[in-house]
């Protein structure tokens, strides 16, 4: 046993590096060629298939699976990429259990869907591993489009625009592309630097320039982009995080879960990431799960997710909840944090109040309980950073309002992904919106 395993406080290297490496292996190992053929054979090639309807990017799933089963994985990958250029990442991170696989007729019939996600990964991995050169740009149009944000929405938009012959400049606030694919998402869902390989694959089409360290409102102005470019696409994501507002929220050991996950993803050696022995995670979404599970995998002894509502209201899918509990994370419902208790400025415990829903309203019952903790991971939501947008960009519910084509209220400005008010906050939705906005921009520029 590692000597640091039971140390109190926030400590790095609670487990031996080899154990950590084991813990962070691929969550869903890829299918072998034979497994893929067998899995593909289960697809019924449904007519007007429900899985296609359920996919935000409308990938022709029966077709790509048939292409796998006929020994044509490259053709299969093309079918996927034509609809979703980030099909490789979506194959890894999509909550397929609530999308395509939920409505698979074999799920309906037998409770065992066709492994659509893994098959998609099989095909896209095949194409990317073999350096497939799938797309050729249309002749240059002379149009220039600015894309803000090199996350899934921005990359999908840029790729489609480049395909049509437009020149694209992506302005990215960080020093690295990929957005949440690179900085969010649990490490075991996208191993071996896949996010960067995928970005390279997207950019290989040509015609896309990325400028780093460019943040809207911080030297980069939307007005300037509007005047310098023929169109602008905003795919900024949600750069702001909701902070915990209570006594002790600024204590040493209270960490934003988004930062915690980003730190993990960016670390060269996960043994360097410090975690508490006892951790309370506040929140009920995917970020809470990703943070909690990874904390556990780093060697935390007790990890408890506290969510203020019930199991059914959690934004994290059932699959994710089950994953967390299978890794030893405890999920507690109907508890809202009241106070972080500290000693010498360090987290000692969290006091939470029991809640209940009365007439559709969440209320505290007045009864409290305390969980011992030396680290608190806060995952209570992210929000749009609005400072750089300016008044022409109308908001709705704190996010950018768009029409069905992704067009905002500002002249020649489109938007997509988490920063908008439409769709779920999923990679696949961001890709669909980025792609569709590119189509709309292309239509506009052609006129």
């Amino acid at each position: 046993m590692n000597s640091k395993q039971h140390m109190s406080g926030v400590v790095a290297g609670r487990l031996d590096p080899s154990d950590i490496a084991d813990n962070f292996q691929d969550l869903h190992p890829p299918l072998s060629a034979h497994e893929a053929i067998v899995a593909a054979d289960r697809c019924y090639f449904c007519h007007d298939a429900p899985c296609v309807t359920a996919c935000p990017t409308s990938i022709d799933i029966p077709m790509f699976i048939r292409q796998i089963s006929t020994g044509n994985p490259l053709g299969s990958a093309e079918t996927i990429f034509d609809q979703n250029i980030l099909g490789g990442m979506c194959a890894r991170v999509c909550p397929t259990e609530t999308l395509c696989e939920q409505v698979c007729v074999r799920e309906v019939a037998e409770g065992k869907p066709v492994k659509i996600g893994l098959l998609q990964r099989y095909a896209t991995d095949h194409a990317m591993d073999n350096g497939a050169d799938i797309y050729t740009r249309a002749p240059a149009t002379g149009n220039k489009v600015a894309v803000v944000g090199a996350g899934p929405a921005g990359l999908a938009c840029a790729h489609r625009l480049a395909l049509y012959g437009h020149d694209v400049v992506i302005f990215e606030s960080r020093e690295k592309p990929g957005g949440l694919n690179e900085f969010g998402i649990a490490a075991y869902k996208t191993v071996d630097g896949f996010a960067q390989r995928e970005v390279d694959f997207v950019l290989s089409i040509g015609g896309i320039d990325i400028q780093y360290g460019q943040e809207l409102g911080d030297g980069l102005s939307l007005e300037q982009l509007q005047s310098d470019y023929d169109a602008v696409f905003l795919g900024t994501g949600l750069a702001g995080v909701n902070a915990l507002q209570m006594p002790g929220a600024d204590a040493d050991g209270v960490v934003d879960a988004v930062d915690f996950i980003a730190g993990l993803r960016q670390s060269a050696d996960k043994s360097d990431i410090a975690v508490g022995r006892r951790i309370v995670v506040i929140g009920g979404g995917m970020t809470a799960i990703d943070a909690a599970v990874q904390a556990k995998l780093l060697g935390a002894e007790d990890v408890t997710i506290c969510y203020r509502r019930g199991k059914d209201q959690m934004n994290a899918s059932l699959f994710e909840q089950d994953l967390a509990t299978s890794r030893g994370v405890v999920i507690r419902h109907w508890l809202q944090p009241e106070q972080v208790n500290t000693t010498d400025g360090k987290v000692q415990s969290v006091t939470l109040e029991y809640t209940s829903q009365t007439d559709g309203k969440l209320v505290g019952t007045g009864e409290t309980m305390t969980i011992e903790a030396d680290q608190v991971l806060v995952a209570i939501g992210q929000k749009l950073e609005t400072s750089g947008l300016g008044s022409p960009v109308k908001l709705d519910g704190g996010r950018i309002a768009t029409d069905q084509n992704g067009r905002t209220s500002a002249d020649n400005v489109w938007a997509g992904g988490d920063c908008t008010n439409s769709g779920d906050d999923l990679t696949v939705t961001a890709v669909a919106q980025g792609r569709d906005a590119a189509e709309a921009i292309n239509d506009t520029l052609k006129r």
């Binding site: 034979h34 054979d41 019924y44 090639f45 449904c46 007519h47 007007d48 007729v105 309906v108 019939a109």
Partner: protein, 436 residues
């Protein structure tokens, strides 16, 4: 427990499951293992004439096609008759028959189309104590190029001639093994009967190329970049074999000729179907080559359980029971009207019935009802073709429901007649027989 002891062309065996003449019956070692496993009999792999034995290729002898999860559906072979010395085979046959007296021991023979050649080998085989011989007029590869195998089986006159030679030169029952590589199986069967055959066995393998290597452009199996057609067998050929067995069983000239059914028999159910269509016993090869000899225990038990469940006391209660129901198209009842019916509780909404019907048939299945994805049969369009049933992945989800006499067929607007009426008397038939 149902009695499945079998007497075929006078040859007794404890059950109707024989191993066909093929690699599994090439030598004592295999045949003894088969008998230990419970096989009722074997047809020893084909012997050739005395002298240097046949040689085989030294590369792959088999090609295959597969279904889901690499399940072997069809096997193709280019192996020739035994490549072991005639006398080694004869010694082993004699010993095995002596050790396993209750099992059927039939010896397959293929020698040139000269009476002297048959006269020479028959006494040698007879001396082993074998129960019978099977004339290999079936193998479509290799030996056929030398005027033997299917080269004989494709010429009824030769079949009759060689059969007659054999009947004249041995007391053993003569089973003539037929090739399916002909246009009408009844002619070779009649020829065998005319030559005095005690029985026929069929089918031998179907001439085939299983696949082409798209890199080397060589057919499979590839021998140094070249391929030759082989003989196809396994589950894929069963429907071809069933039809040929039935054709002989219901032919006025050959209906009393015993038939040993061969072709893709893999389970007891396959065997029961062959028996029902007139086979007096069955021979198995590919299933054993795929799974080993143990499968015979499932076949025996399965057949008995089914017979017990249905009250069939012995094989005679089963053999030929389906033959009267095999008829010519022109005698099918055109007044029998069915409509497909989709059980909505079982339907998983895959839409395959719809698209099959919509694209390729009669536009008789909905895709949407009141704006909701739902697959229903449109009786006004349904011709009762059964395609939807066959493409539906859920068993018994779609069924064909006959309309009762007096009901109106919504497609034609006519009332269903309760009377039998066939093409021979149909008004559209220019050569119809006027009703008396």
């Amino acid at each position: 427990m149902a009695d499945i002891t079998n007497t075929f062309a006078g040859i007794k065996s404890p059950n109707p499951f024989w191993l066909a003449s093929a690699p599994p019956t090439d030598k004592a070692y295999n045949v003894e293992r088969a008998f230990k496993a419970g096989w009722g009999g074997v047809v020893w792999k084909t012997l050739g004439e005395e002298g240097p034995p046949a040689v085989n290729v030294n590369g792959p002898r088999y090609g295959a096609i597969w279904g889901a999860d690499r399940r072997l559906l069809g096997l193709n072979n280019i192996e020739l008759i035994t490549d072991r010395d005639l006398y080694v085979n004869l010694r082993e046959i004699k010993q095995v028959k002596k050790d396993w007296p209750d099992r059927a021991m039939v010896v397959s023979i293929m020698v040139p189309c000269e009476e002297a050649a048959w006269k020479a080998i028959l006494p040698l085989v007879e001396e082993t104590g074998a129960d019978g011989i099977e004339l290999n007029f079936g193998c479509p590869h290799g030996m056929s190029e030398r005027g033997m195998g299917s080269a004989v089986g494709q010429v009824p006159e030769y079949i009759e001639m060689v059969t007659r030679w054999c009947k004249a030169n041995t007391r053993m029952p003569v089973i003539v093994k037929l090739t399916p590589n002909i246009t009408d199986i009844r002619f070779p069967a009649r020829a065998a009967q005319a030559g005095g055959a005690d029985a026929v066995s069929l089918i031998n393998t179907v001439s085939s190329i299983t696949s082409v290597d798209l890199d080397s452009f060589s057919p499979e199996p590839s021998i140094d970049g070249k391929g030759s057609h082989g003989g196809y067998c396994g589950p894929a050929v069963k429907p071809i074999a069933l039809n040929m067995v039935a054709e002989i069983a219901r032919d006025a000239e050959t209906r009393d000729l015993p038939i040993s059914g061969i072709g893709g028999i893999t389970t007891w159910r396959d065997a029961a179907e062959f028996l029902a269509l007139g086979a007096g016993n069955v021979q198995v090869c590919t299933a054993a080559m795929t799974y080993g000899f143990k499968i015979v225990s499932e076949m025996i038990e399965g057949l008995q359980n089914w017979m017990d469940a249905k009250g069939h006391a012995s094989l005679d209660d089963v053999i030929g029971r389906a033959v009267p129901n095999v008829t010519d198209w022109q005698y099918l009842n055109l007044n029998y009207v069915t409509k497909a019916k989709i059980n909505q509780d079982l339907c998983i909404s895959c839409g395959r019935c719809h698209i099959a019907c919509e694209d390729t048939s009669h536009q008789a299945i909905t895709q949407e009802v009141n704006g909701v994805r739902r697959f229903e049969v449109i009786d006004e369009e349904c011709v009762g073709c059964n395609l939807c049933v066959n493409v539906c992945p859920v068993e018994n989800c779609i069924t064909m429901e006959p309309l009762a006499a007096g009901e109106t067929d919504k497609r034609t607007g006519e009332k269903v007649s309760g009377d039998y009426g066939n093409w021979t008397e149909h008004p559209n038939n220019p050569s119809r027989v006027a009703a008396e």
